[in-house]
């Protein structure tokens, strides 16, 4: 093992209660995240893909405890975040940062750019007061922002530049881990490429670790080292990018990959079309959550939940198709 795991998530669960009636009694739970485990090595990018409602955003927020997870274990840099009291969390914040999806609502419209970036730096006393302005300017330069932007307000900037400001805000705290929640999906293609390149450059320069959450498979493939595929709150498959994209094992992963339109009119690939819609996370199917839409569904899938098993080194999949031997041995 060349690098240590910097983020370790074990059996993370987040259930949102459904309340109804006058007394607001809990009548059920939305299982947004239902027992997810993964780990990220230092300096790597973990790409989390899945469709809307699969719980990928909830995972991102749970790791930072912006939403309180129901249960599980989150280790960042050896600290079990779940055991830290909410009050004592503040000094730990700078080490883990987040980039948000919507560049229009993630910047306070009443603050100039310099203050947005430097606010938390001041708060945590990361640099002496005399160097504060220079520090902010240097961060801005790293993120490709012109120095004279420092006194301007967010309303003057386009989406791409706003996203740069968001990245600068996260970067200013000198974090180890950055959780990027769909950072490019609100941007145009040409701007997307700029932001992705910026994120990659910064990673190299500062040895950053990313958890990159996105629904866009091509972007995830480009930026990630390890990829995890989620469906309805569960991890279906994860492993190194090369082996996942070359040889997707889970039927859902296969369908997902083949659904991406390719910008080449000659490529008419054999698309695996999934039937039906994603079931509601408040009432997930029994057994394997994917069995309602799976073309290779077997009897066992309807009753028994498959566990994440290593198929190749580092490449895990949660599907009964690949544990046949084990079940037979039982």
């Amino acid at each position: 093992m060349e690098e240590k795991n910097i983020v370790e998530v074990k059996n993370l669960k987040k259930y949102f209660p459904i309340k109804s009636g006058v007394l607001q009694r809990t009548t059920g739970y939305v299982r947004a995240v239902d027992g997810v485990s993964f780990s990220i090595k230092k300096g790597q990018t973990f790409g989390l893909v899945g469709e809307s409602g699969c719980g990928k955003t909830t995972i991102g927020r749970s790791i930072l405890r912006l939403t309180e997870p129901t249960s599980g274990e989150i280790n960042i840099n050896g600290v079990d975040i779940m055991k830290v009291k909410k009050k004592d969390l503040r000094p730990l914040r700078p080490k883990m940062q987040m980039i948000f999806q919507d560049p229009f609502s993630s910047l306070d419209p009443r603050m100039p750019v310099g203050e947005i970036i430097g606010e938390a730096v001041k708060e945590h006393n990361l640099v002496p007061k005399s160097e504060y302005r220079d520090y902010v300017l240097s961060i801005m330069k790293d993120c490709g922002l012109r120095p004279y932007y420092i006194d301007r307000y967010p309303h003057e900037f386009s989406g791409g530049q706003r996203q740069r400001i968001c990245i600068a805000r996260a970067l200013a705290l000198n974090p180890d881990v950055i959780i990027a929640d769909e950072p490019v999906s609100a941007l145009d293609v040409s701007i997307q490429a700029q932001i992705i390149n910026l994120m990659k450059d910064l990673q190299e320069k500062r040895k950053l670790t990313y958890l990159f959450i996105s629904h866009d498979l091509s972007v995830v493939e480009h930026i990630s080292d390890v990829v995890g595929v989620m469906y309805l709150g569960t991890m279906m498959e994860n492993g190194p990018k090369e082996s996942i994209f070359k040889n997707p094992l889970h039927p859902y992963t296969q369908a997902l990959f083949s659904a991406v339109p390719i910008a080449d009119p000659d490529v008419k690939m054999n698309r695996i079309l999934l039937q039906g819609d994603i079931p509601s996370p408040s009432n997930p199917p029994s057994g394997c959550k994917f069995h309602t839409r799976c073309s290779k569904c077997m009897d066992i899938c309807k009753t028994e939940v498959p566990t994440l098993q290593e198929y190749e080194p580092g490449h895990c999949v949660a599907c009964h198709l690949y544990n046949k031997k084990k079940t037979e041995n039982k």
């Binding site: 914040r93 940062q97 948000f100 419209p109 006194d151």
Partner: protein, 331 residues
């Protein structure tokens, strides 16, 4: 090639640096002053405030000075010099418009123009004070409810609902009757009325502020503030308050108008500002007598017009502010 890029960048830099930087506040002001009606509203309010605040110093007469008339010489006599007991002395009631009395005198022989200024003082003061009270209570409670949520929110919101259910006019009638019963002087009655109105009006403010804070809390920049580990006090005062401010200013302007109107209604009904003090509302009260309504327009029309103009002006400003704060609302 690199040359070219550098040149393009330089071109863009120059262009951007020459752009006028505007703070969000300046932008709002610019949009606001582009609205003609809102400017008219500001004009009216400034005029009214000056008229009521400074006007009385230029008036030779007092607020409740009664003018007498010498029935024999037909000469007007001021209260101080009048020999009230004398048989030839009468009260100069309902005098026509003249150089001495620009708007004549009312049914009690007092100068209408002077009373208009003093009445305006009271009406505007009531408006401002009531709005300040309701804002203080409403923002505090609404802010607490919105920020902390949960059980606190539930209790405060139920309280708001209770306050919504209190029938305003009957309550004022009862309060007035009680005050009359205890013999509270008209001077203090004004303050009572202000406090009662303020306390009754906060519920609406609290509800709006709570809603605003709830929606702001979900904004990603609040999440970002949480994620970067900003102190709670700073989060509230640097992020929440400035962003709720526009809404609060808007409620305040809109409410001043409606408070002035309510005060007029109360005074008109005889429950508000009481004799001998003047307010625009109790001046319009003169219209109760059909003789005055028909023949002495100069007594009741001016205060009515003042109410109309002031309320209208506040609404213009409110509309202008709303469009300025949120240009998307404009259509």
């Amino acid at each position: 090639m690199e040359d070219l890029q550098a040149r393009n960048q330089q071109e863009q830099d120059e262009f951007e640096q020459n752009q006028v930087i505007m703070t969000p506040g300046q932008l709002v002001m610019k949009r606001f002053f582009r609205n003609k009606l809102a400017c008219v509203g500001i004009g009216i309010i400034v005029f009214m405030v000056l008229f009521c605040a400074i006007g009385p110093f230029f008036s030779p007469y007092g607020e409740y000075e009664i003018f007498y008339i010498n029935n024999e010489t037909k000469e007007e006599v001021r209260m101080q010099q009048a020999d009230v007991g004398a048989s030839y002395m009468g009260v100069n009631v309902k005098a026509p418009i003249s150089s001495k009395h620009w708007l004549g005198t009312d049914a009690d022989g007092r100068d209408v123009f002077t009373r208009l200024m003093y009445g305006g003082r009271i009406s505007l003061t009531v408006g401002f004070v009531v709005v300040i009270i309701e804002l203080l209570v409403g923002i505090t409670l609404g802010g607490i409810a919105g920020y902390y949520g949960g059980i606190v929110d539930m209790i405060i919101m139920r309280l708001v609902e209770i306050f919504y259910c209190i029938p305003f006019i009957p309550l004022m009638l009862i309060t007035s009757a009680i005050m009359f019963g205890y013999g509270i002087s008209p001077k203090y009655k004004i303050y009572f009325i202000m406090v009662v109105m303020g306390v009754l009006y906060w519920a609406g403010v609290a509800r709006i502020v709570r809603g605003q804070i709830l929606s702001l809390r979900e904004m990603e920049y609040m999440q970002a503030a949480e994620a970067t580990g900003i102190r709670t006090s700073r989060k509230i005062f640097k992020h929440l308050v400035p962003n709720v401010m526009p809404m609060i200013i808007l409620i305040a302007t809109m409410d001043i108008g409606s408070v002035i109107l309510t005060e007029s209604v109360l005074s008109f009904l005889g429950v508000g500002i009481a004799w001998p003090y003047a307010s625009w509302g109790n001046m319009v009260d003169a219209v109760n007598k059909s003789v005055i309504m028909k023949n002495y327009l100069n007594i009741w029309m001016p205060p009515g017009i003042c109410i109309l103009l002031t309320v209208l002006a506040f609404n213009f400003i409110g509309d202008g502010l709303r469009d300025a704060f949120d240009p998307r609302m404009k259509r």
